[in-house]
Symmetry: C2
Subunit: 213 residues, 2 copies
């Protein structure tokens, strides 16, 4: 149906774009949007600007694509869990565990996404990319909504502490997302370690929200 709904410049550039997005995520993660030069991304790719501008019209568009990719993976993996079996507490726990794991597995992309639409952008580029911007905010809201609904259910079922859901969701995400600030992937020792961190964080977050017995 779409001749060209995203601003795809060439017909078959999807895997080329993916490769660019991956490299961009790494550099954006390291330096942030403003301090990242397209040349630096190109260098990480072992290429030059030309390659990137062939697929993307601007740095902002590339940055947006990183965020979109990150959010889409989260939504794709977490939504089924929200619909899965078990009561609200069990489902929320599964979601949190998966969420934390994905953050670590996909650190570059996810870190960029978590940092979010740093203000630096909104002011500078808002006008030109208003539509894309809105769609990303939409994605983020949708994602939070998935959690919010499960939490809502849990509160109504008397499983969770009886507080404003919005205000409960925040520290819940905080406990998990904060890992993008401190987590540094170690060479070696990765496979089972990620799981342990994810479990610890999830445990903390769940205790925070569960109504005391």
């Amino acid at each position: 149906m779409d001749a060209d709904s995203s601003s795809l410049k060439t017909v078959n550039g999807n895997e080329a774009r993916t490769e660019i997005v991956r490299a961009a995520a790494e550099v954006f993660m390291e330096f942030g949007f403003a301090a990242t030069s397209i040349d630096a991304v190109a260098e990480r790719l072992g290429a030059t600007k030309g390659r990137i501008y062939h697929y993307y019209d601007s740095k902002a568009e590339l940055y947006f694509d990183v965020q979109i990719a990150a959010m889409e993976r989260l939504i794709r993996e977490i939504e089924p869990l929200a619909r899965g079996g078990g009561n609200a507490a069990e489902r929320l726990e599964a979601m949190a565990l998966r969420h934390a794991t994905i953050l670590m597995e996909d650190l570059p992309m996810q870190k960029v996404a978590v940092r979010g639409l740093e203000r630096e952008l909104l002011g500078a580029v808002a006008a030109r990319h208003a539509k894309t911007l809105r769609s990303i905010i939409r994605l983020r809201d949708d994602y939070e909504q998935i959690f919010a609904e499960v939490i809502d259910t849990g509160i109504r079922d008397g499983l969770f502490v009886d507080l404003p859901p919005r205000l409960t969701t925040k520290p819940f995400f905080g406990a998990l997302n904060w890992l993008t600030v401190w987590y540094v992937p170690r060479r070696l020792q990765k496979p089972e370690d990620i799981a342990e961190i994810a479990r610890t964080l999830t445990g903390f977050a769940m205790r925070g929200i569960l109504k005391g017995a």
Copy 2:
């Protein structure tokens, strides 16, 4: 050459510097380090570059000063609470409550500090400011240490969950610090609202760390 330890250029510029730091914090909060121009800070001051470069040698130095001011306030206010009365749980709760409150009261500075030494800096400016950089990292570590010790005590006393302290501190801070990501000061309604938010977050964090009855 020059004997003065901080790079204070003029003799009595302390209040002038304070005013500059305050303005800088607002702009840095809004746009981040890289995307903030000194001219923008000057404009917020209702002045020009000249004023700023009269007191600061570089943008980095100014940025550092914001971080230092933020960390110093935290340490100054929280440390007494760590030494105060009560068991580890009571002290930790008081600390968390105060911490969250300060974040909201001093949002610009604290947000900049929480975002931390964004990587964008480390690469770019590390060499020249290695000493300052180290002292800021030191401040941050000291601050975390204040919490870590109380948490340690609580674990030994059997009050807190029995997990690696380092891994418990992280989500604890996460639940609190995350508010710098979502909290937007509302005009009106501020005085008691801040207190409620702080209490909710603190409650969450404490439940996360307390050993279930």
